[in-house]
Symmetry: C2
């Protein structure tokens, strides 16, 4: 029943323990079976008596064995009757009732909402992934140096549980940056550091929504964000966009009493237009009248190539109805997983407690490094460099496409962002085009992936920020081969 | 209307832009107002005409101004009527309807569930915080060296969006560790890396529970964990514990069809007993029969001072009903925020997609450092060192208390864990005692904080792992002063 392997990594006592436990669990040693004495067992197995003793002691403390004074050691008889049955899955189904493996109904909906393309694209860094910054132009050396400084500077007590709103110096650096660059009106107290916009939205949805609440979402819009709303039990109300951004009047017609609107006013995702001032004002006016919340996802405002970016919606909202959301995934590195919310003063307590219920707080070290990176001016410098670089890369994409894909992809330069929309001929199928491109090692989302209800001209969403001019040129050549096959 | 400050940090064009925008938003510049020409404006303000031009252009692109060919620049008239009103909060309430600031009803419940003590204790590192490991004994130098190695080794493309289940080498290291040390049966595919047990539980609750589902929770038990269950809309069913752990028969009587049980079998939180084998088997048997899930929170199994820790519940569950949950917050540092779930094979896809909907994935670098730390054997070594250290510290606590608090606190050594229960005289008030201790710079939770319904003898939960013998001795002296005041 027991086989010991003297050449194995595992100690003899561990081997003995495991095999006796296994024998009891599988019923090979029946309840009530008397064990040989430790003296007999140890001589039979050729082990020291101490090993046998410690194993008996352990099995007794685990509840498998029972010692009777003067009469030896037995497998316990008072284990529940089903114990042995439960441990023998090989018995026929007649003997065991297996209840269904029920999960949350919402969980299936989430999986469905993250349909196709998500898996294959998410973790890739191939052209023309639309959500990636220039991984090749990040100042790794500098960041490492700051990291080493931070590790040296922090004291052991700093590594206890931390502030659920985020590391204070980081919150101060963020609020100063937002005030100066985005016209956001806030103090460090209003900042909640989160793990990217996805967690920010998840948090906002949980604090602000009851199951069944209607939420306006841009159509087309960012699919993965919707999963966070579905998680909170929200009912998504698709609201179309036009050249001025969200069509507020359609939202009003469809769900006038919605509880929330999720918008990307500075750079509509994916189409890239800027929400005009009249639309912004109409949205804020609605939110004030009905008591709705506006989530301003300012994911991409930093990259405008002509003039300063538009100030935020939050900055012109005097009734404190806007929750502003930003991320460093697009400006620095996705793998850092740092973003933030700016919440109205009366909601700070709710958000900070709810954030603790999510995952207590963000890891410390990279928050401290980032605080340093911003307050020493490296962040502003990096953004300036990236603006120039992305403008060049955008030009490279536009020119490669007019060289290689004339008549198939229609593309126009834009004054902002990290991707362009490459319009396909009407009547073509953008999902097929994207799948075919994937076969040619080009990774991108079809525009239709972003739509809930709206019917759009077929198009591909082409990211350029993360790729060198050479990678862009080569990628466009591969894409051309792919599209010549399908279109 | 416009005042420029030549000594300010802000550029002149930014000052002009801000003040004109402000004038329009507050109604001082009415819709339709004609602007002076850039030539006149620039000479009046003593600025270059280029500045005036760029500001006009920006305000036009933002939608505030409107240029008519040959007739100058005007404040736009097609702003929504409410625009100016919304921007003037100083007007009487009559003119604006302010809807109530409604939030999720659940959000208030969460705040309530995290009552008292949480804020004051959470972020502290003072004696006798019960949830902290030895921050002073962590190998910071070694960790920094591994961090530098990891930064050098990773390639730019590694910093794109990552695997939502967690960095693969870390998952492999964890599954090997669990197999060898905790009797957990799993592969790296079953591991989901999360941001500590709180996120693990939050994720499990969202994937497995529908609103209204009943969940057995240990009473007393870990309060903050409950917030994650409440978030998912669960109905908490308190189930008392005794010397053998969870009283399964009471759970069966109270909520036989519960959907989930949350247990700490290897070291009950906070009382410290080990769930006996018959109870484990009864729990698994119930879960199999009714189709319930068991969350095994194995938060503290590593610190047993006599003999190897008991193997996990997951390891003896052959019907794959157990979700195993572990954390590095207790074995390494809370500020790392790394934990993991082990999920049954048929739930991997649901958990991994739901985890993406939470916050995509964990930050990369510390996952890679931890993978290295475990696979190079540093983790096992650190745990061995900590076991010896914690045993010493526990002895120091017991001896200081018998010296200073005889007759007031009753305390007994235990074979496991990072805290002990200090029993107070029956009839005393443990909340008052803890608050009074706080005045003497001693941080701890009263045992009653952990209870939902159960009435327990008053006691204090005294952590010892994080404090040197000197800090423990000094802390106990302060605690003695505090308790001599109240008891």
């Amino acid at each position: 029943m027991v086989r010991l392997d003297r050449t194995a990594d595992l100690s003899l006592s561990r081997q003995l323990l495991d095999s006796l436990r296994e024998a009891i669990l599988t019923g090979r040693l029946q309840p009530g079976t008397r064990f040989p004495s430790t003296r007999v067992l140890s001589s039979e197995l050729g082990i020291s008596r101490n090993i046998a003793l410690s194993v008996f002691k352990q099995l007794t403390s685990e509840g498998y064995l029972h010692g009777r004074v003067g009469s030896g050691t037995y497998v316990r008889e008072d284990l529940p009757e089903n114990f042995l049955i439960a441990s023998r899955p090989t018995r026929g189904p007649g003997s065991i009732t297996h209840a269904p493996r029920r999960v949350a109904s919402q969980a299936r909906a989430i999986v469905d909402s993250m349909s196709a393309y998500t898996d294959s694209i998410m973790n890739s860094s191939r052209p023309f992934h639309g959500g990636l910054p220039a991984l090749d132009a990040f100042p790794y050396q500098l960041w490492m140096r700051l990291t080493a400084q931070v590790w040296r500077r922090l004291r052991p007590r700093d590594f206890a549980y931390g502030d659920s709103q985020g590391y204070r110096p980081l919150r101060e650096a963020i609020s100063e940056y937002l005030e100066a660059n985005r016209g956001v009106r806030c103090t460090a107290d209003q900042i909640i550091v989160v793990s990217g916009s996805q967690q920010g939205l998840d948090l906002a949805a949980r604090v602000l929504l009851n199951p069944g609440d209607a939420v306006w979402v841009e159509d087309p819009g960012y699919i993965i964000a919707r999963a966070a709303l579905l998680n909170a039990g929200a009912r998504l109300v698709p609201v179309p966009v036009d050249a001025e951004g969200l069509r507020v009047e359609i939202g009003l017609a469809r769900a006038p009493r919605a509880r929330m609107a999720l918008v990307t006013p500075s750079h509509q995702l994916p189409l890239g237009m800027i929400m005009t001032l009249p639309r912004r004002m109409a949205l804020l006016d609605w939110s004030r009248r009905v008591g709705a919340w506006v989530i301003e996802d300012d994911y991409n405002s930093e990259f405008r190539y002509g003039g300063p970016p538009l100030p935020s919606l939050q900055g012109v909202d005097v009734t404190q109805r806007v929750i502003y959301m930003g991320t460093f995934s697009k400006t620095l590195l996705p793998a850092l997983r740092i973003g933030y919310l700016v919440v109205p003063p009366d909601l700070i307590r709710l958000f900070s407690v709810a954030r603790r219920a999510l995952d207590l707080h963000r890891p410390l070290v990279e928050q401290a490094v980032l605080a340093e990176f911003i307050s020493e001016g490296h962040y502003a410098r990096h953004l300036r460099r990236m603006r120039l670089l992305y403008e060049q890369r955008q030009r490279a994409l536009v020119s490669a496409i007019s060289d290689e894909l004339k008549g198939i992809i229609e593309i126009a330069p834009a004054g902002a962002g990290m991707h362009l929309i490459g319009w396909l001929p009407p009547g073509s199928n953008d999902r097929e085009a994207a799948e075919c491109a994937l076969q040619h090692d080009c990774v991108m989302r079809p525009l239709s992936w972003f739509s809930l209800e709206c019917r759009l001209r077929p198009a591909l969403v082409l990211g350029y920020a993360a790729f060198s001019e050479r990678e862009i040129a080569n990628g466009v050549r591969r894409l051309a081969r792919a599209l010549h096959e399908t279109i």
